[in-house]
Subunit: 332 residues, 2 copies
């Protein structure tokens, strides 16, 4: 399938299930950016969930996000119960402008449904010259350090750094040892996982993805990853006045929609910090040391290589996924 065909498929499914053109376009483009970079867990794989979220009545497919300035450096985007991608189109340019003026600025999404990856927003900001962070919570999937029951979302942290003459340095990594979508894909494909990904309902270590989906995922790197997961909960929930992951689950009330909640995005304009003329070259010195002296890769390198490949060769959509998309293509 070409990327254009995949985008059309996603757009039509969303449009047919209650999205207006703006919302459908923003979500479809976001999903196809993930397909393009072969981030399967945030690509078309999510389309049935987007659709069921719309059908449940929880998500507003005709959302009109609204901006509110809370402080010189803080903007809030009221999501109107829509999906996050339309928020990016409205909020990110305002955040970048606020960072240019203040040096540092925050954008807080509230009352939204976030199912996508975080790298699209930090990449966009870094392409605008910003150093960017993004944080979001979801549903209780991950046990706290020393705990046995799910409490935190997979709680990713996204980070972007601008580079001269090439795509920004970007990473987007779950505080969980594995992204939720990847555990789900392993379960669908009946693949065992490594140790350290999760525990079963009794809190015992397991490599069975189905047992982990019923039990709890674990944070990466033990208590340190769990501390990051906790930090993300606080930033994407209490700080901005939105839900914790376990509150999002209560809010869902078993409807199986996407997680209702918030997202915090920070932008720092390096031209307002200490070395407006040198920061890019200083960053490149670090990357050169990683690439040349150590012969290793930078985070995100695989995504960028995939991006070049799929632009020419398109993507492969597994038949089981394609069928599940066709099954939700028309509103019942």
């Amino acid at each position: 399938m070409t990327l254009a065909e995949a985008r059309d498929l996603a757009f039509r499914a969303l449009r047919n299930n209650g999205c207006d053109d703006d919302n459908a376009a923003a979500v479809a483009d976001n999903m196809i950016e993930a397909e393009r970079d072969i981030c399967a867990a945030h690509g078309l794989f999510r389309l049935p969930w987007y659709v069921s979220s719309l059908r449940s009545g929880k998500v507003n497919g005709r959302a009109t996000p609204r901006l509110e300035q809370l402080a010189p450096g803080v903007t809030r985007l009221h999501g109107d119960r829509g999906f996050a991608p339309l928020g990016h189109r409205i909020g990110l340019p305002v955040l970048a402008q606020s960072a240019r003026e203040n040096g540092i600025a925050a954008l807080a999404y509230v009352d939204m449904y976030h199912v996508g990856a975080l790298w699209p927003e930090v990449e966009w900001l870094a392409q605008e010259g910003m150093v960017a962070f993004a944080f979001t919570a979801s549903f209780p999937y991950v046990a706290p350090a020393g705990g046995t029951k799910p409490l935190y979302g997979t709680n990713p942290v996204g980070f972007g750094w601008p580079r001269p003459g090439q795509p920004p340095l970007v990473f987007d990594q779950a505080s969980a040892a594995m992204a939720r979508g990847d555990v789900m894909i392993a379960a669908r494909e009946h693949r065992q996982l490594s140790e350290g990904i999760g525990i079963d309902r009794e809190g015992r270590p397991t490599t069975d993805p189905d047992a982990i989906l019923e039990g709890a995922q674990l944070a990466f790197g033990g208590y340190k990853g769990a501390a990051l997961a906790m930090m993300v909960e606080l930033l994407a929930g209490p700080l901005i006045g939105d839900l914790l992951s376990f509150e999002a689950q209560q809010d869902d009330a078993g409807k199986g929609a996407a997680p209702h909640g918030g997202e915090l995005i920070l932008a720092l304009d390096p031209r307002r910090f200490g070395d407006p003329d040198g920061y890019l070259e200083r960053g490149e010195r670090l990357f050169a040391a990683i690439l040349e002296q150590q012969g290793t890769r930078l985070p995100g390198a695989r995504r960028l290589a995939n991006r070049e490949r799929t632009a020419k060769g398109g993507i492969v959509v597994p038949k089981i996924l394609y069928d599940s998309i066709l099954a939700v293509m028309e509103r019942p």
Copy 2:
């Protein structure tokens, strides 16, 4: 030894080796805060290194840090080649005020020597009601993901969140699997370490702390921890116009002083975000779920318990450490 006696010991050693009263007091207090919380790696253990840094002529014991406003939300503190703790006394209140005005603000230390923990600064800010981050690099100790040679500092991330009626929630964790000071203490005590802490000079996994000190430490949690270490390098170096860890080593030129470089501190005023009246209670809901439902502890709980204990019972200083302090008490 009581904390007051330990503080006096540290103050005199610093004063006798070239610090003026202000610098000696700030550094001694910072070191004794670590002793008080039984963070041995940042306590009196560091005193001989502080002294040798002064004696090398690299560090200015009579530093007069100077503030400069770079943007409405960005303040730079020129360290005048001094140790970081005096910078805290001058810079942190300005950062908190800037965050109150802008909602979010940054403080960038440049041209300083940082040997302390990061939790004192984020704890201070969180006591002022701020949500706080701190980042600093050091010397090349940690290999990048897939690499075999040291490139990153241990690159801690500090985070603080205010709590009503009790000390803030604070963590301060190295991106390295183990803090440098703890590897050094294990080497001094001839203790083997766990797997995953480091590699030897040939890049082979080892549990021997001496071999790790000659080889490289590893990031916690594999490539994800290494990505955080890289992020901290970019924030505490290129963004603010200061040195990367490997540049700090070149700058040291074998003198064995503390790392010369920068620190980035961020403060977000939750009263300028989305729920000025509810954020504290929302945070407590998360902590209650961790403590009551899962029966586990919060990050920093051990430090706070130690703090109560040492306030009454004082601290134990190992004889080998006490002797090494006496040996540097007077300038030669």
